[in-house]
Every structure is written in structure tokens, then in C-alpha cells.
């Protein structure tokens, strides 16, 4: 990152880093520079130094993000906070990086001089690429459609057959007006009685129509094959990608939005190809052939037919952008509708328990209505323009009839020729009409294509290295100076270093939001740490294949998610090839077997949507059985018993005890008593590792853990005091 963007004119040569800022420490808009030499921080206002600080006077540097602005701050060795300057958020990343370097400097005495590494920029517009492959500003819509076309490649055989059949059927259609002309000119107008010739022509017409039907059948058969396969591929790819993306990318989107992209958007692309895929080639070809035929027959009449066409195209091209935007709006409303539906149905228990059904019905109705309204608006715009353009387009036909009729009267043309000509004109309008429809279809489709490719082309920020290690995990875990923040420059965990030995049971304690779950997310590699290393059995977690890592880590969370299916399916989720005996053994160890036996259909009892029929404790025991069957080397218990009553907690604790025996276990629990059997405890405080030791050691130290225990005892006493009179 370039940390010397611009320097004040008067700056000395020893200024290593210099970044412009736009607010003074007092919050007044200003134009200045934050400059750093090896010894000093210099605050320039325009070209004059207004403040000067010795770096050695500080013990810490931070970047405080506010709402619209952020502050560069330093904490002096006396504990006083100094704000150097403030700036808008576009400057935040550079300031955060620079302050991180300064912070590293005061902590280690190592002044890192970062090379002015060139940041990749778009060759076209010069905007930073920010890790993307293509500039988001310059990516054009055409490219997306080309990418879509490329996906036809595996089905090119069917595609070619479909195109050939359509061309052949179109050729048959082109021949029929010629035969009509023969019938009129040779037999109808002269009132000929040569029945044999007449019958031959009629039979040819009928045969040709039958032939066209056969071609059409093969065309449709193959077109559908291509479109349906393409749709299936897209749906599968989008779904697969949504599974592969990191938690960071997934949490940016709601479940409703992802569902929409997998089903609705992919289907829209499939429909587009069914309706228009091969048509594009054929219609353009027939436009060309019929156009040539018309000009050969009579160029003056042909000219009258095509003169209005450019006008119509001009109107339509103007319409394209407006249509595209309107369909984007329809898409947005449909997504909101999907999300709302998902939201309400997901929280149906809350809705019902607060008696808010009417309010939710109203909310859903509003969404649904807005969606319908936006779709109607888009369609109205389209159908308002259509009749006008249709009239302008076909106006040439009236000229052809007038002048063609005059030519017949002057014997310059036969009736058969005019009929053939007008039939061709009508046939010419067909591909033109299709071309006119294209902006509407294309606009609608390119919105969906854009959304689909946005997911397909997103790079997961947690990736396997080349040739990742397939590790047979033993269970040693080491955190080595680990920093992590969900926002890169706002660390949740700061400099965590600790070693967890194989088979140990470790409890992580600390206040809410201190980073307990974050530590677990890092072990599971749902996110990558921003600095430092996490090692499992001495191997950096980033070098272990994600599949190998997660297949050996078992997780029991506070909220157990049971998939729609029966108990057996839910337990074997962790190991689909497990024998039934293994399943029962796992259920026994998890203290789940006994209650499963009592269920109406035993292991085949459907646990339904989220397993609502089962109690929290029962669901938790199924989750533990699942984890036992998984036979993990490392077990993670994230508030596994938090939502249970004391009696159930006891049963679960017992089950957990069997699960964790001899395996490295990391447990988070708010109730400190839950962690009484932990070998050692990690105490997190303000994102840092405050204490690490056994319960007795930590109690003796009378530090953070001691305070937590005392505070909790106090609360328990208070609760008892409050509940005692009521229960009496």
C-alpha cells in the first residue's frame, strides 16, 4: 500500500510516510498532511508544521473509526490519548496501515519501511482494482452475455442440430410463398383446368409444411436440451459457489437473496435460452435472406418496406437503458419480497407469540404489492412503446400494397408476384419484431446474468494453498501472535499467543464481544487471521486443506440446527457411511438413545423444520451424537449448554464428558461453573489474552478471571435472593 501519497512542498527529505488528511484534531475541515520521520510525527496544515510529536513518547497507535470520519490517535506512555488528525473514510485503510506500522515500531523498535508497492489499477480508467480481477466500473454487459454463451460449449452438438433444423424449416417457409405465386399466376388468375399440375403444386406445399413440422420438432427437442442443461449447470454452480465462499462473503447476503440467485435468476437465464438462444442466429439469417429476396424481386418496393425500420430501432435503442433499469428495479423488489417472506416464515414463532400476524400480513402484502407495481410499470412502459413502433414498422406494408396494386393495374407486376412479395414482407417483420423484443428480454436477462456471475466470479478470501497438507490431526493447537478483525483494521483479537496440548480441555472465558467465538471461528478457519499464525500439530492452519481440517473438528453450538429429515439422517450427517450400530452407539454415548426409543418412529422420526418437535436438550443430544459419530480430533463447544435448564445441562454435561474424553476440547461458556472440568482456562480481556492457567492458579492470581467469578457469584446470589420469596 502506498503510504506516501503526497508530501507538503516544505517537507524535509527525511519524511518517510506522508498521508493527506481533511479534518484537524478539533474536527474542523482542513487541508493538511500527516507526516512521519523515523523519530517524529509532523502535522502539517497546508505547508506549515503546526504540531510535532516524538514517536518515542508513545506506547500505542490506533485508528478510531467513527461514523463519517475517523481519527488517528496515539496513546502516550503516560496513558494520555492524543488525536493527531481526522479524515474521511476513503483515507481510512491507508491511515490504519500506517498506524499499524507505527504501533509495530513502538512495540518492537523495528521501523518498517514499506516499499511503495504499486497497487493494481484498471488500465482503462485508473481506478484501484482492490483485489478484483476486473475493474467493476469498466466491466461491460456484453461480456457477461458472452460468458453465458460460452457455457453452451458442452452442449454444442445439440445446439448445432437445433440451429440446422431451424434454418431448414425457415428455408421451407421461404419456399412456400413462391409456390403460392405459382398457384395464383399459373392456375387461379388464368382459371386453368390443368388439374394434374395444380395438384402437384398443392401436394408439394403440403409436403413442405409437413417437413417443416419435422424440422421444428427436432429443433425444439434439442433447444430444450441445451437450455435445461444450461439452467441446471448454472443452478448447480451458483449453489456450489455459495457453499465454497467464505463466511465473510456469505454473511454479506441474506439467505433469501442467495435462494433467489440459485433458483429464480438461473431459471430466468434458462428461459431466455429456451426462447431466444438459437433464435438469435436463425432470425438474423432469415432477416438477411428475406431482405435479399425482396430486393431482388423489386428494389423500390423493398426500400419502402425497410425505410421505417431504422426509426423503430432508434426508438428501441433509446428504450434499452430505461428498460434495463426498470427491470433491475423489478429484480430488487422481487429480492426484497423473497427476503421478507423468508424472514417472516423463519420467525413465525416470534410472530405468533407476539400476536403480530396482521402486521406481518400487511408487511408481506406491501412487499408483494410493490413488486407487482414495479413489474407493471416496466411492462406498461414496454407496451406503451410497442404499438407505436409496430405501427411505424408496418407502415411500409401499406405503401407496398398501394404501389404494388398500381403496378398490377399497369401490368408491371402479376398478382402472384405481389402476394409472394407481401408474404415475404410479413415474414421479414417477424425477425424484426423479435429484434425489437430483444432489448426487453436482454435487459431482464442481463440483470439476472449479472447477479449470477457476481457470485460465480467472486473469489473466496479463505482459500486452500497449492498442494495443501492432508493432516492426520493429533490435537496440538498453537496461537502465535494472532491478530484478527472482521473489519481488517479493527482487531477483535490482538496478539493472542498460547499453546493447547493434545487431549486438553480448554475453556475460553471473558465478557461478551471479547472475541471468544472469534477464536473458535479461526480454529475452524471460517476466517483467516490477519496477522500471526495458528498451528495445528506444528503445521500452519493455512497450509492444511480445509476439507481435511473440518473433517477432524467436531462442533456443538448453542443453537443446534437439525436438517429436515429423520433422526437417523441427522446423526449420520457427519458420517453418511456409518453403520446403524455405530449410530446407536453414538446415540447411547450422547445420552440420546433413550429418548429416541420413546419417539413414535424411533430413529425414523421426522424432526421436521429445524426439529421443532424436539426439546432444546434433545436436539442438543442429537448434535452431540452427530459429533461423536464424526469422531473428531478436536472438539469445539460453543455455549453448548447455555440454553438448557440445570437438570438437562447435567445430562448434556455427562454426554459431553464422554465425547471430549482424550480429545482436545475448546469450550466457551458464559456460566463459569460449566467449565469446572476444564484443564486450563484462557481469559480474554479487551481482545487480548489476559490470563491462561488452571482455575486454582487464576483464582489465586486474583486477576480478570477472579473478578468474573466473583461477579457471577454475586449475580447468582442476587438471583436467589429475588427468586426465593416468589417461590415460597
Amino acid at each position: 500500500m502506498n503510504l506516501c501519497l503526497s508530501k507538503p512542498v516544505t517537507a524535509d527529505a527525511d519524511v518517510v510516510y506522508s498521508l493527506p488528511y481533511n479534518f484537524t484534531a478539533d474536527g474542523v475541515a482542513a487541508d493538511g498532511h500527516f507526516c512521519v520521520t523515523k523519530e517524529k510525527i509532523l502535522i502539517y496544515l497546508k505547508d506549515d508544521i503546526v504540531k510535532e510529536y516524538n514517536i518515542s513518547d508513545f506506547s500505542e497507535f490506533t485508528c478510531q473509526q467513527q461514523i463519517g470520519t475517523s481519527m488517528a490517535q496515539g496513546i502516550t506512555k503516560n496513558g494520555e490519548t492524543i488525536c493527531f488528525c481526522a479524515f474521511t473514510q476513503d483515507k481510512f485503510l491507508r491511515f490504519a496501515e500506517l498506524l499499524k506500522l507505527l504501533d509495530y515500531y513502538v512495540r518492537t523498535g523495528d521501523f518498517v519501511i514499506e516499499a511503495d508497492t504499486e497497487e493494481p489499477v484498471c488500465p482503462k480508467c485508473g481506478l484501484p482494482l482492490d483485489g478484483a480481477k476486473e475493474c467493476i466500473f469498466c466491466t461491460n454487459k456484453g461480456k457477461t452475455m458472452i460468458k453465458l454463451l460460452k457455457r453452451i460449449a458442452p452442449y454444442k452438438k445439440y445446439f448445432v442440430i437445433a440451429v440446422l433444423c431451424t434454418i431448414l424449416s425457415q428455408l421451407v417457409w421461404v419456399l412456400t410463398p413462391y409456390l403460392d405465386r405459382i398457384i395464383i399466376d399459373e392456375y387461379v388468375t388464368p382459371k386453368s383446368t390443368e388439374w394434374a399440375g395444380f395438384a402437384a403444386v398443392v401436394i408439394t406445399v403440403v409436403s413442405l409444411l409437413l417437413l417443416a413440422g419435422v424440422f421444428e420438432f427436432f429443433n425444439m427437442k434439442n433447444s430444450f436440451k441445451v437450455a435445461l442443461n444450461l439452467g441446471r449447470d448454472l443452478r448447480q454452480d451458483v449453489f456450489q459457489k455459495s457453499q465454497e465462499l467464505s463466511m465473510n462473503s456469505i454473511s454479506k447476503r441474506t439467505a433469501g437473496e442467495l435462494i433467489n440467485r440459485v433458483s429464480s435468476d438461473a431459471t430466468k437465464l434458462e428461459d431466455f435460452f429456451t426462447a431466444n438462444g438459437k433464435d438469435a442466429i436463425v432470425k438474423i439469417l432469415s432477416l438477411f435472406i428475406i431482405g435479399v429476396l425482396l430486393f431482388v424481386m423489386d428494389w423500390r418496393l423493398a426500400l419502402m418496406t425497410v425505410i421505417p425500420v431504422p426509426v423503430v430501432f432508434l426508438i428501441i435503442s433509446k428504450l434499452f437503458n430505461a428498460m434495463s433499469i426498470r427491470y433491475t428495479k423489478v429484480w430488487k423488489k422481487s429480492v426484497t419480497h423473497g427476503e421478507t417472506l423468508h424472514d417472516i416464515l423463519n420467525g413465525i414463532r416470534v410472530v405468533k407469540s407476539y400476536g403480530n400476524e396482521v402486521r406481518e400480513i400487511q408487511r408481506y402484502t406491501n412487499c408483494s404489492e410493490e413488486w407487482a407495481k414495479s413489474a407493471v410499470k416496466a411492462e406498461i412502459m414496454w407496451y406503451l412503446t410497442m404499438p407505436v413502433s409496430e405501427f411505424i414498422l408496418t407502415i411500409g406494408n401499406f405503401f407496398v400494397l398501394y404501389f404494388g396494386g398500381s403496378m398490377i393495374l399497369d401490368d408491371a407486376m402479376t398478382l402472384g408476384q405481389l402476394v409472394q412479395f407481401t408474404t415475404y414482407v410479413a415474414m421479414l417483420y417477424d425477425p424484426i419484431r423479435w429484434l425489437i423484443q430483444i432489448p426487453r428480454n436482454l435487459a431482464d436477462t442481463s440483470v439476472s446474468a449479472g447477479k449470477v456471475f457476481e457470485i460465480l466470479e467472486e473469489d473466496s478470501d479463505v482459500r486452500d494453498v497449492e498442494n495443501p497438507v492432508e493432516l492426520d490431526i493429533k490435537g496440538d493447537i498453537e496461537f502465535d501472535d494472532v491478530y484478527f478483525g472482521y473489519k481488517v483494521y479493527n482487531p477483535v483479537l490482538k496478539g493472542i499467543s498460547c499453546k493447547i496440548n493434545k487431549g486438553e480441555m480448554i475453556g475460553i472465558v471473558g465478557h461478551s464481544g471479547v472475541g471468544k467465538s472469534t477464536m473458535i471461528n479461526l480454529i475452524l478457519r471460517l476466517y483467516d487471521c490477519t496477522q500471526g499464525e495458528i498451528r495445528i500439530d506444528g503445521v500452519n492452519i493455512k497450509n492444511i486443506s480445509q476439507k481435511s481440517l473440518r473433517s477432524q473438528v467436531g462442533v456443538v453450538l448453542q443453537e443446534t440446527f437439525l436438517f429436515d429429515g429423520n433422526v437417523l439422517e441427522n446423526i449420520t450427517y457427519a458420517k453418511p457411511d456409518a453403520t446403524f450400530e455405530e449410530v446407536i452407539k453414538a446415540a447411547k454415548i450422547a445420552n440420546a438413545h433413550d429418548f429416541i426409543v420413546k419417539l413414535p418412529d424411533g430413529y425414523n422420526t421426522r424432526v421436521g423444520n429445524k426439529g421443532y418437535q424436539l426439546s432444546g436438550g434433545e436436539r442438543q443430544r442429537i448434535a452431540i451424537a452427530r459429533a461423536i459419530l464424526h469422531n473428531p480430533k478436536i472438539i469445539i463447544l460453543d455455549e453448548a449448554t447455555a440454553s438448557l435448564d440445570t437438570q438437562t445441562e447435567k445430562q448434556i454435561q455427562e454426554a459431553l464428558g464422554k465425547l471430549t474424553k482424550g480429545r482436545t476440547t475448546i469450550a466457551i461458556a458464559h456460566r463459569l461453573s460449566t467449565l469446572s472440568n476444564a484443564d486450563r482456562l484462557i481469559v480474554l480481556d479487551k481482545g487480548k489474552l489476559a490470563e491462561f492457567g488452571t482455575h486454582t492458579e487464576l483464582m489465586r492470581a486474583k486477576g480478570v478471571y477472579y473478578k468474573l467469578v466473583m461477579a457471577q457469584r454475586q449475580t447468582t446470589k442476587m438471583k436467589k435472593a429475588v427468586t426465593t420469596p416468589a417461590t415460597e
Partner: protein, 178 residues
Amino acid sequence: MSNSIQEEVYEVDKLTILDCGKIKLSKEPSGYLTLDYDGKVYRKVNPTRLVPFVSKTTYISLSYENEEKEFREIGVIKDMKELSKEQYKLLDDYLEYKYYMPEITKVYSIKDNMHGAIFVKADTTSGQKTICIRDWYQNFRMITYDYLYVNDADGNKYFCPNIHKLDKKSRLVLEMFT
């Protein structure tokens, strides 16, 4: 850096509405404010708009972090109008700076790259800009029927308090995206 008073029991469930007559705010080197209230001095006070999209000058929470870095709310200013003129200006200036958010006054064009990003060419109170918005259906949205809230790719925020009061062309451009 600690507050000059001994910390009392923090009553997390008690709403304290501050008496504006007793409030004395001043700027301090940390970039935050110092509050002198009812004989007590609080350092590194961070004012927060509780309902920033509804009102900028009512329901302002004043808080600080204690030595344990725990959040401590001193109280809530119900309406800044009750502050003295000088105190009002100081707090208002601070909030305007903390919530620095240029207002969109005119929209020239919106380009959609069909990859989830839009580029809004607009006049704002901090000059003409092309604002790049990623995931626009999340970051370019109407908070209420009138209020447009924009969060650009860099994290800068923009707003338009009433898009229906913009000129006709701006409204036409915006209509498609709101």
C-alpha cells in the same frame, strides 16, 4: 487517562435524561469531548445520535469508556435546543464532524455495471463526485419514503433528506434505483 471521579455503581437499566442547564462540554486533545456535569468531570466523552436518520439534534447519548474499556452512558440529551447557544454549537459541530455525511443535492447519472455496483455522478455539499457503491441494493437505499442513505465502497456516507425535493432530472434518474 481516567475520569476524575471514582466510578459509582453503574445502573445499566436506568435512563438518565440530562439537565441541559448543567452540561458543560469542552474539546480535549484526544479528539473526544470533556463533560463537566453536576460537579463531576467525564473525559473522552463520545456523543452519539440515537436516531440519526430521524433527528440530528434530539436524543443524543453521552458516553465514555471506563478503565476496563467498558461502555458507560452518562445520560441522554433529549433536545439540544435546551443547551446554551455556545454549548449547542460545540456539540452540533462535533456531531456534524463525527457523522460527516455530505448531502446529495443533484444527481446527474447512475451507471449500473450489472455486477452489483453502481456509479452515481452527483453534486454533494462537498463538491461534485462520482460515488462508487458496491452491493448497491444494500448500500443505496431509502431509509424512509423520502430519505436516501448511501454508503460508498470506501465507507463514506452520503444522504439526501428528501429525494422528492430534488430537481426533476435527478428524481427521474433516482426513480429507477430507489
